[in-house]
Symmetry: C2
Subunit: 516 residues, 2 copies
């Protein structure tokens, strides 16, 4: 129904930072919320700011991973319970429902800061206890004991919950309720937590897939030979070590596939609802993700680094309008960045993209079958300053940062902190096993990609108070406002312009004694 | 009495952008107010924010060239007449008095947006008319007619005003009144407009200097041979063409010297006041400027580009404390940037420099006679997107940007928009006549300096909501907060950590049928 973008990349392969890039349309280094739990600075503009100016509401249904800049809000006197403050605290969204889906309890409290509305739903549905998210939705049963989804061993068990009460259908219910109750043009961020860990899914999804569906891990012994130190450190982390074990992949990947299948089915419910209410024709739909998952590829688990399984995302855009018929059902191989979506939405809402704020570019031309001039490279960043890997490598927080620059064929990864780069040729080595920067070769490619990174580093990302058009309008304006300096005697300009500088003296105070 | 820094550079050789760098301690590309009249974005933190946290007030007396981010303030619901709003509108200062000193009137209104308190002072003193700033303080008399200071021809005339009523003494009066009326620790930005144009000074300063004091212009014919296109465009602007004329230099420079001498004398009044009130021993004093002035050097006038007369500034720091005795009366040749002052003030006020926000470094170690590890290069930037030069060169606003990187010897200037760079060797060519990038030589130096610029481009400038220490404290914290993922069966960790994942099942909902 739409266009599938085959080369879409996140600007940071980690939930929070990536999401802030989607929401602001800006690179992680531009908005500064570079890791989970790093607050998005107060005043940073988001999709919500841009769309509301165009008369379109902007709603959150599900996860954001946003942490409010409480200190910045206090500095500006913004209260979290004012409308402005609430939007600042929720990266620009109005909140239909927020649920970050990690209702994990430890000795210092809950990982998620806010009370989960999903837990309240479960309690109301008869699932008892303080944390039915953990005890039912994300756990199976083993001999009358809770078999926690936190343990990979339990991933093949069915979650101990009615399927229709599990997280993904619940968020679909909320989305349908939202659509039924909300009038006027809106943008809704329908943000499912799953297939995020804990990896466990209710029946019938828990055994739709089995060992026989688990693909070979994309990994090679050569990757472990003299690896880049950052890659090496990541290969030794807990999640990586877990996914290096076949029994982990064989337990988890079928559950992961079941979780995705459940999401697909729930998207089907949403599409059915749109069709039944005759609103599909008015609704643009974007399917995407905040990052991928290694699941054992490259000897890694989760995300964090820049191999394709981590940094590349699915992206399908359905635009119901006739102009989009030209490309409907096709794929597009252009280098797409997640920051492009904010720009796409602004244009779809009838606005002009404020390109002094939003760094992405509208994808609408591709949907119309056009072939616009496009970027030569995609950038992604990763700030691992708060991780055990940074500690292991002995890095100060500001040096624990990675940058990817990918030109569609070559992928360069630069690491601050004095390390060599990494380089992959995805044409000759689509699996990204051979780090070409291990040797002394490919200096020319490395230099060329570093040149792109340098150009990006000089980008204009903070001149957010003046648009390109504002500046064009300013050109030559100071004269009109009355400053007319740099004349010797006024004969340089028409007399009427200097009239204001002339006239009879009111009183003489000057003591002009050229001889002293 | 203090240390004179002989290699101090502004981060942008233009008033407004430079000042915002001083006030924020951040590069122009980091705070975004990259040219005069580009508002400093709401929420950007300044000296005022940092110092007030330490119990030190932060006051403005004079010029800032700040333009408030009215749109951003409205978006956050900040009113300019609230205390928070007023500080946002005045780059973090509390305003004792603001006067930008360009009370120029044109058909569309006044150049300065606010009513000048100086004009009110002059009216009260008997100088009549709507704009005595223009008609008296910045004008002489010629045959009973106003001889405007806007015309260089009149620069050798005495301003038609009592010396004690002219701008510089008036601001000194205000500063003394401020000191008399203000208790508690404060930082005061005493910001004289002069020796800024209009170039005219009251007696006796108007003829203290004459033609014989005017130095030869530092300019060479070789500079006009195949100049860099941006330099070429600037050499053709109005101010440059004016200062290429000997009669302009001979009129203006003696007045300029008189204006500086008047500033010196007024600084003397401030020092006298501090001595008389026995407060000099409690007062740190910094003398500096927001940029230099070509005054005909390099065929240019005013500032804008990166030759030493424009980008290098005077900087003397007097610290009364005993620790500063070690270096008192000496000079320091370290590469100092204007952003260092905000850091210096924070440390002087007893704080730790928030180096995730302030990009400069405290200069206090130099005052104590230490030789800290220091930067290898200074950066300056110039955004000329709103100028006639950008129009002439056919540049889009985002391409009309220059970057200087100076390592203490070599100075590279990069111009966006596809131009070649400029390169000077200030050791063999201290006058910066020979642009070494004109030929094909010096590729190695150019590459080396581009590497520095690239490193700077990757700097971490927006991660302002998390300090280095915050991040160090975060390391390993997610486990404590209750997320303990990536276990196969829990045997990987002590049993008490997984206790929360165990327990008897309340009710069984799971339908586990492994055969279906």
């Amino acid at each position: 129904m739409g266009v599938r973008f085959t080369n879409a990349y996140v600007q940071s392969p980690i939930c929070g930072a990536s999401r802030m890039c989607f929401y602001t349309g800006r690179y992680a280094s531009s908005h500064g919320a570079q890791w989970n739990g790093f607050p998005l600075r107060v005043g940073e503009q988001t999709m919500g700011d841009h769309l509301r100016k165009l008369g379109m509401a902007c709603w959150l249904i599900g996860k954001t991973h946003m942490k409010a800049d409480a200190e910045g809000m206090a500095r500006l006197g913004l209260s979290a319970d004012s409308q402005i403050g609430a939007r600042q605290a929720e990266c620009g969204f109005d909140t239909w429902i927020r649920d970050d889906g990690l209702w994990a309890q430890g000795p210092d409290g809950f990982y998620d800061e806010k009370r989960s509305p999903y837990n309240e739903y479960l309690n109301a549905k008869g699932y008892e206890g303080e944390n039915p998210w953990a005890d039912y939705a994300n756990a199976g049963v083993d001999d009358d004991q809770i078999a926690s989804g936190w343990m990979f061993r339990n991933a093949d068990k069915p979650a101990n919950i009615r399927e229709e009460d599990s997280e993904t259908p619940w968020l679909t219910n909320e989305t349908i309720a939202f659509m039924e109750q909300t009038k006027g043009p809106w943008c809704a961020h329908v943000s499912y937590i799953k297939p995020h860990w804990p990896y466990i899914v209710p029946a019938p999804y828990h055994n739709m897939y089995g060992k026989n569906h688990v693909p070979q891990a994309k990994r090679s012994a050569v990757e472990r030979e003299n690896p880049h130190p950052v890659f090496g450190a990541y290969m030794e982390n807990k999640i990586a070590q877990a996914f290096q074990r076949d029994e982990v992949r064989e337990k988890v990947i079928p559950a992961y596939m079941g979780l995705i299948k459940q999401c697909d089915d729930q998207l089907g419910r949403l599409l059915d609802h749109l069709e039944q209410t005759d609103t599909l024709k008015d609704t643009m739909i974007v399917l995407t993700s905040d990052h991928g998952d290694y699941l054992g590829d490259h000897w890694l688990g989760e995300k964090d680094l820049f191999h394709e399984p981590s940094v590349k995302i699915p992206m399908i855009i359905f635009d119901p309008r006739a102009q989009a018929d030209a490309a409907r059902g096709t794929t597009c191989d252009a280098l797409v960045e997640s920051v492009d979506l904010a720009a796409t939405f602004v244009e779809a809402a009838g606005g002009e993209v404020p390109d002094h704020i939003i760094e992405g570019r509208s994808l609408l031309p591709w949907l119309r079958g056009e072939t616009p001039d496009w970027r030569d490279y995609a950038i992604s960043e990763y700030d691992y300053s708060a991780t055990p890997q940074a500690v292991k490598l002995g890095l100060a927080p500001r040096d624990a940062r990675l940058f990817m620059v990918f030109d569609g064929r070559y992928k360069l990864i630069h690491a601050e902190g004095g390390f060599r780069p990494m380089l992959f040729d995805t044409q000759t080595d689509p699996d990204e096993f051979d780090d070409l920067a291990k040797g002394d070769s490919h200096a020319e490619q490395i230099e060329r990609l570093y040149g792109m990174l340098a150009q990006w580093g000089r980008r204009m990302s903070q001149r957010v108070t003046r648009s390109e058009q504002d500046i064009i309008n300013m050109r030559g304006r100071s004269g009109r406002l009355g400053v007319l300096p740099f004349m010797y005697d006024g004969s340089e300009v028409p007399e009427e312009l200097t009239q204001k500088y002339r006239g009879p003296v009111g009183q003489v105070y000057a003591k002009d004694d050229p001889d002293t």
